[in-house]
């Protein structure tokens, strides 16, 4: 087999056939989609959850993961925070002509490993090859199907004053790890992306009997944007305490250098919980049992209902309002 992906690998002919057989089928097991145009599944019930995301991360390989791992984590986490039990994934690859086959194999392997860890099957796949310059190496779409839980308590209408807001660990790791991995701005750090599927940890919290009213994964736009959207979507007033935000030193240092605010940095392995006040301790204890939840913290609370807004209490004690990320974060010198 060639060492690079060529346009012919995406032309539906003999090379495409070989690529699918040698890379995808061997990693994901027999995919009946390739024989039937679609894969048939018998789910225990017709109550399902569906989500889709494309992944365009640059660089493709970074400390703590790669695009394959993130493509699984992102979709597993979306299903999980929606309160569903992830069941299966579809995977669509868009590959730039000239992409090294060895790298493709690595990505597919990592995708398969993470799916296996998360306990979900890859049930359908697709590969397209675009001309050199038509993509930045590799893009992946994953679409996830999950099963609705009987025991789910998720219901944002139940969000009430006093509810606790928790995060499963330190914020901004992914954003800074990726920026450093790009090497453009000269940042050097041993920070790793937090990207990871969180379904088992979320399972433990829900099956542990915590009264979870809402979950979200603070990916693009960070904790601030995610909580602003949540507050607005469900008419809640949420207050965070700046001093309680778990932030790693390296993230603080890099943010200081570039003039970034960690509240707006992307995370790929974190979940925000809104739980009833009485369950905050129990939630923390359950989270702390998982490596991904070791540094989980209560970072704020719901202080009222009404026109949704997110407030931040600074160490000085004054409260300022947080808004969505406005435009991109750009490194600044002034």
């Amino acid at each position: 087999m060639d060492r690079k992906v060529t346009l012919a690998h995406g032309d539906g002919g003999e090379l495409a056939h070989k690529l699918i057989q040698q890379i995808f089928v061997s990693a994901f097991g027999n995919q009946s989609e390739s024989r039937f145009d679609a894969t048939f599944l018998s789910l225990s019930s017709g109550k399902i959850a569906v989500t889709t995301d494309s992944f365009v991360v640059n660089p493709l390989f970074f400390p703590g993961g790669d695009i394959g791992k993130i493509a699984v984590s992102g979709t597993i986490n979306d299903l999980s925070v929606a309160g569903a039990v992830p069941y299966c994934l579809t995977v669509g690859f868009i590959i730039e002509e000239g992409f090294p086959l060895a790298d493709l194999r690595k990505v597919v392997k990592s995708l398969a490993v993470e799916a296996e860890k998360a306990g979900v099957q890859v049930v359908a796949g697709d590969t397209k090859v675009v001309e050199k310059g038509g993509a930045d190496g590799l893009y992946i779409n994953t679409t996830g199907i999950g099963l609705q839980r009987e025991e789910s308590t998720i219901d944002p209408s139940r969000i009430a004053s006093g509810d606790a807001v928790l995060i499963s660990g330190p914020i901004g790791d992914h954003g800074i790890a990726i920026l450093a991995a790009r090497g453009e701005l000269g940042l050097m750090t041993d920070l790793e992306s937090d990207c990871a599927p969180l379904n088992h940890m979320i399972d433990a919290v829900i099956l542990g009997g915590v009264d979870v009213k809402m979950m979200r994964d603070p990916t693009r736009g960070g904790v601030a944007t995610t909580l602003v959207e949540l507050a607005e979507d469900f008419d809640a007033i949420i207050e965070l305490e700046e001093e309680k935000l778990p932030i790693r030193d390296q993230v603080r240092g890099a943010s200081d250098l570039l003039g970034f605010d960690p509240l707006y940095l992307a995370n790929e392995g974190k979940v925000l919980f809104i739980v009833s006040e009485s369950d905050r301790q129990k939630t923390l204890e359950l989270l702390h049992q998982f490596p991904e939840g070791r540094d989980a913290a209560v970072i704020g609370r719901v202080t009222g209902k009404g026109v949704g807004q997110l407030l931040l209490e600074t160490p000085l004690g004054s409260k300022r309002r947080l808004h969505r990320l406005s435009g991109m974060m750009l490194p600044r010198i002034c």
Binding site: I176, A180, G186, L187, M188, T189, D190, L191, R248, D249, Q250, V251, R252, G253, A254, D256, L257, G259, R332, I333, C334
Partner: protein
């Protein structure tokens, strides 16, 4: 006007130094602070060390603020 961040010098070359800001590292110029020594802190702006931090004054400031905070204002 000018974002400036204190950074600890951990390696020194002829024109540049490797600095550490809470664990994140960066190569910066030391054209304006040629005498900086490993272990000292500099203020970094736009990729250059601009000033060596005098730790005695830094410590004195903290003490001054604490005194200020405790001061009685009649």
């Amino acid at each position: 006007m000018c974002v400036g961040v204190p950074a600890k010098v951990i390696e020194k070359n002829e024109f540049t130094a490797l600095v550490d800001v809470l664990g994140t590292k960066m190569e910066v110029g030391i054209l304006f602070v040629p005498d900086v020594e490993i272990g000292e802190y500099v203020i970094v702006h736009a990729g250059q060390g601009m000033s060596i931090i005098d730790q005695t004054f830094a410590q004195a400031s903290i003490e001054e603020w604490e005194k200020m905070a405790r001061a009685d204002i009649i």
